[in-house]
Structures are given as C-alpha cells and as structure tokens.
C-alpha cells in the first residue's frame, strides 16, 4: 500500500499489525485499519477535504485534530456533525462530507 502511514519510526518503532476495516466515503468503498480515526484514514490516502462550508462552499479539513475546533465534522451513518478527528472507523461505516446548503431565501430570495 502506497500511502502516508508512518510504518516505521526511529523512536516509536514499527506500526503493529491491525485488522482491516471496510467503510465508504462519499459512496466510494475504502479500507483502513482498526482503531484509525476517520480523519487519519482519509489523510493517509491523500483526502484532505472533509466538508464544504455550509454557506460559502469553500473546502475544509482538519485543523486542531483533537476535537476543539469542529472544522472536521462529517455525516456518519446518517448522523451529521460528527467530528472526524475523534471518531474511529467501524466495519461498514458510511461517511459523507458536508456540503454547501441551499439558501433560497438569502437576500430576500432575489438573485442578483
């Protein structure tokens, strides 16, 4: 597997072998290792964008990685607002990136 996982580390040593977990991100089937967070497993495969801002539609990814900033929230098995940095992947998990929301009443519903 060619990914960003740190398998050998000069001080921390070898990454212990772990069970493979299957999940899906935005409908695409993927694999990760047991115990990995959603943020870590996606970054390992080069995916940084975890949501698009609800109003501006600009891409967002992890920022603090420890649950404080709420930037990495995704939808997990239909529940939205789940922090990707604190949630570990489970077999069959369906994860979706947050999307820009429609704002039909913005500026009184008048399109400029």
């Amino acid at each position: 597997m060619n990914d960003a996982r740190i398998r050998t580390h000069p001080i921390l040593g070898e990454l212990p072998p772990r069970k493979e977990i299957r999940f899906a991100f935005n409908g695409i089937p993927m694999q990760g290792l047991e115990g990995e967070t959603i943020a870590a497993v996606l970054l390992a495969q080069g995916i940084r964008t975890l949501r698009y801002h609800e109003a501006s539609g600009r891409p967002r990814g992890i920022f603090c990685n420890i649950g404080h900033c709420m930037e990495c929230r995704v939808t997990v098995d239909g529940i939205d607002g789940i922090r990707a940095c604190l949630t570990t992947i489970k077999e069959g998990m369906e994860i979706h990136a947050g999307r820009k929301l429609p704002a039909p009443l913005k500026r009184g519903g008048v399109t400029p």
């Binding site: 960003a4 996982r5 740190i6 398998r7 580390h9 000069p10 001080i11 921390l12 990454l15 115990g35 990995e36 967070t37 943020a39 870590a40 970054l43 390992a44 940084r48 964008t49 975890l50 801002h53 600009r58 891409p59 967002r60 990814g61 992890i62 920022f63 603090c64 990685n65 420890i66 649950g67 404080h68 900033c69 930037e71 940095c85 604190l86 570990t88």
Partner: protein, 404 residues
Amino acid sequence: MTDIVIIGAGPAGLSAAAVCAEHQLKVLVIDEFMKPGGRLLGQLHREKNGTWWNGWEESASLTRRAEQSGADIRLQTSVYHLQSDHQGWNVYTSAGIIKTPYVLLATGAAEIPVSLPGWTLPGVMTVGAAQVMANVHRVKPGNRGIIIGLNILSFAIARELQLCGVEWEAMVLAPNAMLHPLYASPRHAADLFARTAHLAPAFWMRAGGKLLSFSWAKTLTVRFFPKSGVNVWGIPVRLRHAATEIIGKEQVEGVRIVEVDADGAPKPGTERDIPVDFVCVSGGLYPLAELAAVAGCPLRYIPELGGHIPLHNEHLETPLKGLYVAGSITGIEGAKVAMAQGRVAGLSIAFHHRKGDRRLQEELLHAVRDVHQTRESAPIQFHPRITEGRKAMKELWNAAHHNG
C-alpha cells in the same frame, strides 16, 4: 456511586486517578479521545541525559497504574456541563448525567489559532494537530511544510516531525497584531531565544544550531539578526519574515511571506511566495477553563499562566465545594508538572474525604513541594515568568479568602 469524576485522562487526570483509587475512592475518569494520555500521547523529545521522553509509553504506564489501582476510565465521552446541587455535582456527559461529591477538572489546554487569509484551506493545521497525526495516529501530515509562529511548542514539534520524514521549508513569524505580543515580533522572538538559552542551554545545544554564539541571542540586539535567518536542526528559522497569506485553491499550495522590521511591521514590496504542500500554525496554548466557568468558578486573568485561570490554592482546591483543578488548566506547563499536580489534587481530595487524616496531610505537603521542585528542574518553560504567575494566583486566592 462514584466518589470522584476526573475530567481529562491526561498526565494530571491519570496521576490523580491513581492516587485517589489507591486511597480507596471510587474513581471515574472521562475523556473525549479514543486513547488515554491526553496531549502527553504525542510527545517525543530528548531529555537532558540523552534518553528519549516517549509520551506514548509514559501514557501507557500512567494508565496502567490508574487502572491497576481500580480507577475506571471512560473514553470517547464528552462532558458539556457541570452543575452543583445540595447533594454535590452533576456531570453532564454524552453518556448521561453522573452524580458525584468531587470533580477534578484536568482538561488541559488548547492551541491559540493563528488566523490569516487562507487559514481555512485543507492542509492548514495547528502544530499540535500535526503532532497528533504523526505520533499518535501515525499518518504523515504532509511532505514539505512551513510553520507559522515561533514559540517553544512549535520548535519542539518541528523537531519531532522531522523524525517521521517531514521536511520544513522554513519557520516564520505569525502576522503581527493578531497574536499575543509575545509571539508577534522579531524582538520578542529573539527574546524567546535569549531567555530559553539562558534557562536551558542544553535544549538549544541539542537543537544543533550554535545559537548561543549568536551575538543577538546574548544581547537582545535586534539589528544583529541575520536576515537570512538562523538554522535550527537544518530548518531555516526566519526571524525577519512573517507570513501574510496562505495560498491555494482547493488545498494549500504555498505561503506568502514578507520581510518585517524589528517590531514586526511589514516592509512593502518584499513579499514572495514559497511553495509547500502543508502549513502548521502555532499561536501558543491557553488553559481549557470552560467547564470551570459554567460551573460558576471565579476565573482570574494571569498572562504568565496563559490566560483565564480558575481561582485555586496550592492544594488545587477552587472556592467551590468539591471542585478541584490540576494540570494546564491551572497554567500552561509541561507534562511532568501536570503529573506532580495530579498527585497534589488526588491527595487533596483524599485528605478532604477522610476528614483530615494526619498522614495524608504530610503526604500532601510533600506533594506540593514536589510540584515546585519539578517546575525548577524542568528543561524548558512555556512561559518564562511562570513562577511569578503562580505567585500572583496565590495572592489572588489569599485576597479572596481574607475578604470573605
């Protein structure tokens, strides 16, 4: 029935848990993270004697000790409110409300964000985020990056991340005026070097650069700054450059930097773009005191301790009955001080619970002394005036106490 709920399974919380459990209290430790250890988990640095401080292993041994003593550690559980009634404390968690006579807040600290244009792009993260990604989750946060913000934490993490193959294009100053003045200007960055060089020569010697031989580091004379920066562990540390913007469309593509004068004011026309694939920002740390605030605990603003701190005494009691604090919530310091404070809080609670056991009182006195000793022998201080900050809190406590 739980005797004590400890919020935060970091070095302070786990140490307190072991002490309380060893004194036959029924202990419950709650933490949001999936592993116990708190921010200790990702720490990795060389000690004065040349051995490695491996936060992962330290966390494992603290956890083992707490669990073997009988403490229950509940992970991936969030605490969102804290309220007292005539029976004690109600701890509101994502897994229900827990009643307890004693609560220890060992919530630690969070990073102060550095906001500049482009800071929301994927690939921009705090230095702490990168540390956790690499050393805890074992995923490389990026290949070649820039660190924006010069402070003790960003230097330590820059070094740690080199161990897993991350390359640093440069470390530059954060944009002026939006940060704590301590971190914003070349003058203050030089001050940091000089002060830490004096406090802990071994740290900068190990840093590989011969920083102590630089005349500016000794004299604090800003005009002697080398414009090209100084080299620390092979990383160009640019004391005369600040970031103005992070560039990229869908993710980080580079950083725009500008030359600044000794006070941090940018020189027009000196901007240039440096291509990188990720960016770490670092504005320092602040104590996580929200739960103390919602509980109704008075806070005091002490910049030397990192910001707003719950009022507390040396036994780590707050003015609220049954509410205690330990670790970085009492002031930003390292893991060893947090561990020593955890011991104080644990003994303090056990002493109160046992209604004045003479032997416990002696142990408590000992533990308080140990906190001072640990602080004095720490290789590096997050804030050079930490001792003054601790003294200020002591005086504020005494003032509040005497006024009734």
